[in-house]
Amino acid sequence: MPLSAPNKTSSPAPQSISSAINTSAGALRTISFWFAICALLCLLLVDIDISTTDPWAEMGLMTAGALSPLVWSWPTLLSSLANTFAFALQGVTVAAIVGFALALGYRFTLVRAFCAFIRSIHELFWALLFIQVAGLSSLTGLLAIAIPYAGTLAKIYGELFEEVDPAPSNNLPRGKSRPLSEFFYSVLPLAWHSMATYTSYRFECAIRSSAILGFVGLPTLGFHLETALSDGHYSQAAAFFYALLLMIGTLRLWLHKSLLPIYLVAVFYYLPPQATISWQLLVRFVTEDIVPAPLRGQALLSGETMSNVVQWINLLWQQQIWPGLLNTVLLGQISLVFTGLLALALLPLNSSLFIQRRWKRGIGDSVLILLRTLPETLLAFIGLLILGPSMLPAILALGIHNGAIIGHLLGRYTEELNLRADASRGVTLYFYEVLPRIYRQFLAFLFYRWEVILRETAILGILGIATLGFYIDSAFETFRFDVALLLILVSAALNISVDQFARYLRQRLQLKTVPESL
């Protein structure tokens, strides 16, 4: 059974090794076991029928399109490419600054909950919220990326600060307590390298997010990509997709630290964040749109109003919140385990321990970039054509996307392992040395993706899977912003719980965020 394979091999070894290590390996094994069992049980509860009959005509068109990319307008392509880059860079810059500030208070539960809250809302929903008051403006694009990313970066920075080697700070002379100097001289320098590495990785994610923002109307690559896909113009879609792929694939070549200031000036000059925010719209949004329908224009404390509100919530609970929660958790759990398996299978692709030749590893790397850049909605559409409507295409879409991301990070991480000169090779090396040594890191990455996967279940409406995000999307479509906000709060609560649980597991299993500190 493939699911148990990683668990078996995660035990580093025979009994002779000290009991402390054995115990912790046992804990890793136990937790992996329960996650796998949970996913299998969930699989029994959901619909994974295969039901399609004739996908090949459409698949043929898609393949033909992929092989014959067509740029129908270079100015459009280049300007949407530039917009995608601009929103991503501005968003991550603002997010890094705000995230840093939040990370300083990360030991406070309230701050952590706030961060979990802002990152639990999908970029698309942030954009949809801001569109109501700031329109389709450059400010909307910037905020839609900056806010959830600030939440994510705060979490990463905060945990990095917690995990730095405490020795330097412990050795400071006691007496005068100067927390700020202490932080800047004994914590920040140690965390700096990991922070920079992680932030630059998040930049790649931000480019994808920025492209996806086009789905709701911002002028990024996704705008035209989505249009071409839904019209069935696959050659045009291919051109936009390859442009995105090219930008992400070549990041390392042109996004150099020393050039960042120039890029920053360029993007703020090119696309200054601005919007004509009408106070009228803002006031209407806050005092009317998002106020629960039964409360609008009613006396707050009258018994009748209260019973109407209770009825309103009750009905929503039965029709949307409960089924939404259930589907989100089920889909999230299965996808999480599938993501993990796929990540373990994909990691050799860009690891020099398994692929020695540079050019071959280049190919492996490209496959990973391709898999993680394909928008999940496109993967879901292809899955839907081949497998029919069920939860299966959703699991595949989420698993492939996130599995490729974790596989990539793990592959990079294996580069930092020092092997003995007489280390084994190939399969033996993988199962008996690499896998046990990276397993903690693997779980740490997987727990990070957990909440991301939950959030991304939102955008698979085409499959008709009624997750919380599906209902949030419906609420926006029908201009029920009160319902949308309530559902967003529910999904934020789910996210905060998952975050707390993952944090508990991480501490219990002593999983580290920082490769260097392992």
Binding site: D54, E58, P75, T76, S137, S230, L253, G388, F479
Partner: protein, 310 residues
């Protein structure tokens, strides 16, 4: 190498900073004049939009011609902006980022409820008698019929966009009326493809067995040879209902003069260039008013898409 790349990138950036107002789809721009005209209602440019119901890639091209026509007729600057979804069109209208819009039946009703005083002023000649097709994959062996075939019960089913009149609201209404239950109860699975072309592709591939589609989009794609009749066919045509219309905000006369709404209506009704009309596609325009769409509103309330007034 890096420096060269950088130089060309900066050059490109600067180049497109200047041209973005025309190249970018929503007119995001560093050019304050262009931004102003998009964001602020006080500028004297009439901005209009249309729901993206099909052939989105060519919306800009199609409606730019209409903008040129209206500009000539009205003697003011007219601009079209494309949007990505039905709800985005309504939101832009509500926020006064567009003052005029080519809406579907449902999106028009939603827009007019959100913007008191706005008026439906013109509709296509075909729109009083619009309808939807229920289409089925050949593997279901369901034959065309005058009544909605009960054999669709238990099949997998896809609507178009959640906010579509012909792809969601009216098909759902007629399905409930004829089969006596909600789609969730009747079908084994219910999806929302997003738009009409995709509904056709998904039913043709058998991914969904049955679907609901705008009759005009179907007829157009059939004529263009994009549909394989061996794999997918129409099994039922819904009764007719009013659909698309031009809706204008009630405050346009304040910006462009006393009789502006009347002149605008006249210009729309006078549109007779086949090339322009093909953008919609309609054979011509006739007068319309809000009352005509009462049935759509009633249906939307009964289906639960719009809340009834208290």
């Amino acid at each position: 190498m890096r420096i060269q790349l950088l130089r060309s990138f900066v050059a490109l950036t600067l180049l497109f900073a200047n041209s973005i107002s025309s190249a970018s789809p929503v007119g995001l721009s560093t050019n304050s004049a262009a931004t102003g005209s998009y964001n602020s209602p006080s500028a004297k440019t009439l901005v209009f939009s249309a729901i993206p119901d099909q052939d989105e890639a060519n919306l800009q091209e199609r409606f730019d011609k209409v903008a040129v026509y209206l500009q000539a007729q009205l003697g003011i600057e007219v601009r079209y902006i494309p949007v990505k979804s039905y709800s985005a069109a309504v939101t832009a209208f509500r926020n006064n980022q567009v003052q005029l819009a080519w809406f579907g039946g449902l999106s028009g009703v939603q827009a007019r409820r959100l913007v008191p005083g706005s008026q439906a002023i013109a509709q296509g000649t075909e729109d009083p008698f619009f309808s939807s097709y229920i289409i089925a994959h050949s593997s279901t062996a369901i034959e065309p019929s005058d009544n909605l075939p009960t054999a669709i019960k238990g099949k997998t089913f896809t609507f178009g966009s959640k906010g579509s009149t012909s792809g969601r609201l009216m098909p759902e209404h007629f399905i409930r009326e004829n089969l006596g239950d909600t789609p969730d109860q009747l079908f084994s699975k219910v999806g929302y493809s997003g738009d009409h072309s995709r509904t056709i592709a998904l039913v043709q591939s058998g991914a969904y067995e049955v679907g609901a589609v705008n009759y005009k989009v179907w007829d157009q794609q059939l004529a263009a040879g994009e549909i394989d009749s061996d794999k997918v066919k129409v099994i039922w045509r819904t009764p007719s209902y009013p659909d698309y219309q031009w809706t204008v905000r009630g405050d346009v006369n304040d910006s462009w003069g006393e009789d502006f709404q009347a002149r605008l209506t006249e210009a729309l009704l006078a549109m007779d260039d086949p090339d322009l009309l093909a953008s919609f596609p309609r054979s011509g325009f006739i007068a319309a008013d809000n009352e005509l769409y009462q049935p759509i509103l009633d249906t939307a309330i009964s289906v639960g898409i719009i809340d009834a007034d208290k």
